[in-house]
C-alpha cells in the first residue's frame, strides 16, 4: 500500500491498530479513539513546531539573502540548527514578570494568543481525507476560532504595565478588528461558488482554482491576512522603530517563544486557508496531495516574507483607511458581482 500517496488510509490504519491495541489490553474501543485523538493532537503540535522552525529559519535566510547577507551560518550546516539553539536558549531563560505587570493576565496572554491559531489549524484539510478534525462548517470555524487571539494581544499590551506595550496592544486590537471584516467578506464569494462551508468540500468543488474566478477576493484576503498576522507592512502593533516591540516588549523566555510561535502558526493557518479557498488545496498533478498542499502554503508564506522585507510600514490611521475605505468596499463589490454573475448564469 502506498501510504505516501494516501495518507488518509495510513491514518485510518493507525487508528485501526490503536483500536485493536485497546481491545487487546481489555479497554473499551472508545479508549483507542481517545488515545488516537490525543496522539493526533500531540502529532499536530509537533508538526506545528516543526513548521514554525522551518518558517523561522526560512525567514531568516530569505531576509538575509534579500539584504545581501548570509544569515545564520554558524550553528550546523548553514545555520540549520540555529532555530533549535534559539529554542533551547528561550526555554532556559528566566521568565520573569515585571513588577508593574498584572501578574496573571501577563502570564496567560501568550497562551491566549497561541491556542486560537493552533485550534484553527486542526480544521484545515491537508490532503484528501486528512483533516485532524473534520468540521462540516470548517470555514466558519477557523474564522471564528482565529479571532480571540486579539484578546491575548490586548491582554499582553495591557498587563505589561508599559506604555509602549499598551499602545501596541490598542493598535493591534483596532487593526485586527478592522481587517476581520474584509477578510470574511472576501471569503463569501468562495462560499457562494462552492455552496458549502466545509473546507474539504470547497477544495473538492474547485475544478480550477478559485483564484481564476475570484482574483480580487484573493488579493483582499492576502492583504487582510498580512494585516491579521501583524506583519510588515502592517506591523504597527509591534513597530520596532516607534514602539520598540509593542505588546511583547516586556516578554522574554518561554512566553516570548509562545508569541513567536503564535505569529508563525497564525501565518501558516491563514496561508493554508488561502490555499484551501483559492488555490485548490491539495489538488495538483503527479505529486501526492499533501506535498502540493505544503508547497502551495509555503509559496504564500514566501509572499508574506517577501512583503515584509521589501515594504515600509503604514501608519495606524492609514491602515484603518485602507481597511475600511478600500478593502471593505472592494470586498462588497466583489460579493455583489459574484452574486449577480451566479444568478445570471443560473
Amino acid at each position: 500500500m502506498n501510504y505516501i500517496f494516501d495518507p488518509a488510509a495510513a491514518f485510518a490504519w493507525c487508528l485501526e491498530q490503536l483500536r485493536t491495541l485497546a481491545t487487546l489490553v481489555h479497554l473499551p474501543v472508545m479508549a483507542g479513539e481517545w488515545v488516537g485523538s490525543f496522539l493526533v493532537m500531540i502529532g499536530l503540535f509537533t508538526v506545528c513546531s516543526v513548521i514554525v522552525m522551518i518558517l523561522v529559519y526560512g525567514e531568516r535566510k530569505i531576509a538575509a539573502h534579500m539584504q545581501s547577507r548570509l544569515g545564520p551560518m554558524r550553528v550546523g550546516w548553514h545555520g540549520l540548527l540555529q532555530v533549535i539553539a534559539d529554542v533551547i536558549k528561550l526555554m532556559l531563560k528566566e521568565s520573569f514578570v515585571p513588577a508593574a505587570a498584572d501578574n496573571w493576565i501577563f502570564r496567560a496572554a501568550p497562551y491566549v494568543v497561541f491556542i486560537p491559531g493552533f485550534m484553527a489549524l486542526i480544521a484545515i484539510p491537508m490532503d484528501r481525507g486528512v483533516i485532524p478534525a473534520h468540521v462540516n462548517m470548517g470555514l466558519l470555524y477557523i474564522l471564528a476560532v482565529g479571532t480571540p487571539g486579539v484578546i491575548g494581544i490586548l491582554m499582553a499590551g495591557w498587563s505589561s504595565g508599559n506604555k509602549y506595550s499598551l499602545l501596541g496592544g490598542m493598535r493591534s486590537a483596532a487593526q485586527m478588528i478592522s481587517y476581520e471584516v474584509p477578510l470574511v467578506m472576501s471569503v463569501l464569494g468562495v462560499i457562494m461558488l462552492a455552496g458549502s462551508l466545509d473546507l474539504a468540500a470547497i477544495v473538492e468543488a474547485q475544478k480550477v482554482p478559485y483564484i481564476i474566478y475570484q482574483p480580487l477576493a484573493f488579493i483582499i484576503f492576502l492583504i487582510a491576512s498580512v494585516a491579521e498576522t501583524n506583519r510588515n507592512p502592517f506591523d504597527i502593533p509591534e513597530a520596532e522603530s516607534e514602539l520598540t516591540a509593542g505588546f511583547h516588549t516586556e516578554y522574554g523566555g518561554v512566553r516570548f517563544a509562545y508569541f513567536f510561535l503564535a505569529e508563525y502558526v497564525n501565518m501558516f493557518v491563514l496561508s493554508a486557508a488561502a490555499v484551501t479557498l483559492f488555490l485548490g488545496g491539495w489538488k495538483g498533478p503527479f505529486l501526492p496531495g499533501w506535498v502540493w498542499y505544503f508547497a502551495k502554503t509555503f509559496g504564500i508564506l514566501f509572499l508574506f516574507m517577501w512583503f515584509r522585507w521589501t515594504f515600509p510600514r503604514l501608519r495606524s490611521d492609514q491602515l484603518m483607511d485602507l481597511g475600511w475605505k478600500v478593502l471593505t468596499p472592494l470586498a462588497f463589490l466583489n460579493l455583489i458581482v459574484t452574486g449577480l454573475v451566479l444568478v445570471l448564469l443560473k
Binding site: A63, M66, Q67, S68, R69, K163, Y164, L167, R171, N232, P233, D235, I236, A239, E240, S241, E242, L243, T244, W309, T310, F311, P312, R313, L314, R315, S316, D317, Q318, M320
Partner: protein, 379 residues
Amino acid sequence: MSTEISSIGALETASMNTEEVTLNMGPQHPSTHGALRLILRLDGERVVSAQPDFGYVHRGMEKMGETLTYPQYIFLSDRIDYLASFFNEWGYCLAAEKLGQVEVPRRADYLRVIVSELMRVTSHLIWLGAMGMDLGAFTPLTYTFREREMVLDLFEALCGQRMTFNYMRIGGVSRDLPAGFVDKAKAFLKYFEKMPDVYDALLSKNPIFIARMKNVGTMPTDMARSFAVTGPNLRGSGTALDLRQSEPYSVYPDFKFQVITRPEGDSLARYQVRVEEMRQSAAIIAQALDGIPEGDIMSKVPRVFKPPKGEAYARVESCRGIQGFYLVSDGSTKPTRCRIRVPSFANLAVMPTLLKGVHVADVVAIMGSLDFIVPEIDR
C-alpha cells in the same frame, strides 16, 4: 482618523475620564539615532508636546579645544559628527588657517573636496537606510551600508582609518592619494550611478513610503529661518542656501553642480533633496577626480603652530548644514575659545514645534527626515 469619529470621541470624552500620557522615548530607543531622549505628552496616539532632552554624549569638546593645541585637536574634531568627520576637520582647519593666514595648496584643496563629497555621499547613504528602517523597511539599510563600505574602503586606503580619519592638517592634508585611488573612486561612481534607482524603487516611489512622508512635519521657510535650520532641511523648505555655491570656499567655484531645493518643506521634500544631493556630490567628485592638479599637499607651516592674536569664524557646508568653528587665539599654541557651531543643534531645536499634534508614528518619520546626529548636538 476621520472627523466624524473624532467628534464622537469628543462627545464621549466629555463624560469619560481621560488623561494625557507621558511617554519617555529614549535615551535607548531604536529610532532616536543615539542617546536622545524625547519626552512626549500623548493624547491617545497624538503628540501634545515633545521635549527633547539630550547631553548624554556630552564630551566637553569645546573645553577640550582649549586644552589641546591646534594640530592636536583635529583628531578630536572627527568625533563631533562621526558621520561627517571630514567636514569637521575641514571646518576646524579652515578656521585655524584663517587665524594663522596659512595658504592651502590647490592639490590639497582638491583632495579635501573629494574626500568631503565622498563623506557627504556616505552620510546621506546612512541617513537613507536609517530613514527606511524608521519607517519599517529594513532592507534599504543593508544596501546603503553595502555601498558605504565601498567608500570607507577608499578612505581607509587614503588615510588608514574608516571613520576617524585625522586626515586634514592646518595648511593641507596629511597624505597624498595612494596608487589606484582615482580608478577605484571612478569605479565606485560608476557603480553608484544606478543605485539611486534601486532606492527609488524601494523607497522614493513606494506608495506606502510616500504616504508616510508626504505632508508630514511641514516646516515653512520662516520657521526654518527662525530656528537657524540649515542644510538639506532648509533646502527642503525652498531656500537655496548652500555655502558651496552662495559663498564658495576652497575650490568649489571650479565645479558645476546644482543646489537642490524643494518648495514643500515636508519630510518627503527633505528626503528628495538628500537623494538628489547624492547625485550632485557624485558629479562633483567626478569633476574633481578629473581635475586634480599636481603639486604639494602641504604648505609650509611652522612645526609649532602659533597663530597671532585674533579670532576667526569659518563655516563649511556639511551634510547636515552649516558647520562653523569659531576660534579665538591669544597668540599661544592653544585657542582660548573653541566654539563649534553644529547644524544638528539647530535642526533639533525646530523639532518640538514640528511634532505638535502629529501621530506617534510620524515622530519617527520627522526625526528621521531631520537627520541629526546626537553626539554632534551634545559635543
